[in-house]
Symmetry: C2
Subunit: 163 residues, 2 copies
């Protein structure tokens, strides 16, 4: 983990931020940007989480996805407990530089969601009528790829990506 504060470019004007060639991320009031991980194999969206400056810097430096857990209020290397680390194949940033997109290869069964599903977005919402408390979600995948009670119960630490 670096001892120094991560060093990005200054924000500059709108044109520089939106179309320039310097990385000048815009962290929000909580010091976070949004991060989306997609499967490098087929582009499927796996998960959405957040990064602080340190998590973004570590992701860029190490090539493994790091996030900031808002619930646990700490840096979080994806897979530190489950072993399902995410190797980043490509990292891109959006026009106003407040979100990053990562194409990742996931160690283990290829699932990103702590529920055991491949993607966190495993439930679809019916369209065409106003939402109501009765509106019923449908599961849009083939089921879980791992049993969370097995993977997280062990609570084992691993630093060895299983590629």
């Amino acid at each position: 983990m670096p001892d120094t504060v991560p060093s990005f470019a200054p924000r500059g004007d709108k044109a520089a931020v939106e179309e320039g060639d310097r990385l000048a991320p815009k962290f929000d009031a909580d010091g976070l940007i949004t991060a989306v991980a997609v499967d490098a194999r087929d582009g499927a969206v796996l998960m959405l989480a957040h990064m602080d400056a340190q998590a973004l810097a570590l992701t860029i430096e190490t090539g493994f996805a790091h996030y900031y857990s808002r619930s646990r209020r700490r840096l979080w290397k994806k897979g530190e407990e489950s072993g399902h680390v995410q190797k980043v194949v490509e990292l891109s940033i959006d026009c106003d530089q407040d979100a990053v997109l990562m194409r990742v290869e996931t160690a283990g069964p290829g699932a990103a969601c702590h529920t055991g599903h491949r993607s966190c977005f495993f439930r679809s919402v019916p369209l065409g009528a106003p939402p109501s408390p009765e509106l019923q979600l449908t599961v849009n995948d083939g089921g879980k790829l791992f049993d969370p009670s097995q993977v997280y119960a062990a609570a084992k630490k691993t630093d060895t990506p299983r590629f």
Copy 2:
């Protein structure tokens, strides 16, 4: 536009939220959830933005993507100015229900970014070294699909999706 406050299910416990079949979105302190739009043709991530309760409800009811613009502080139907509306083919919600994913068909040239690029994530970040102000982004697409000065200069309103 509906006159009533959108009606979602109550949040319930962790299991109900994460694995249940009811839509119980978690809006943040600013009343927003995150929304990711991907191209229904090939799954490419196009953009990331935010929705308030009304934008989410209108998206579900009308089948066209609505967002909440944090900079303009108002409801925003994607394409209201450019004509590049997003017809939602599928909308899914993530495990903790604070983010939605939409597969969309985009009217016009098929671009989502106001810069003219297909995707807002058109610049990639080199990996393998700590970030620095000198780090250089590279453009990862084939260039712009439309000229923003032409599309937005007209500032024309259109309610007619061009499908």
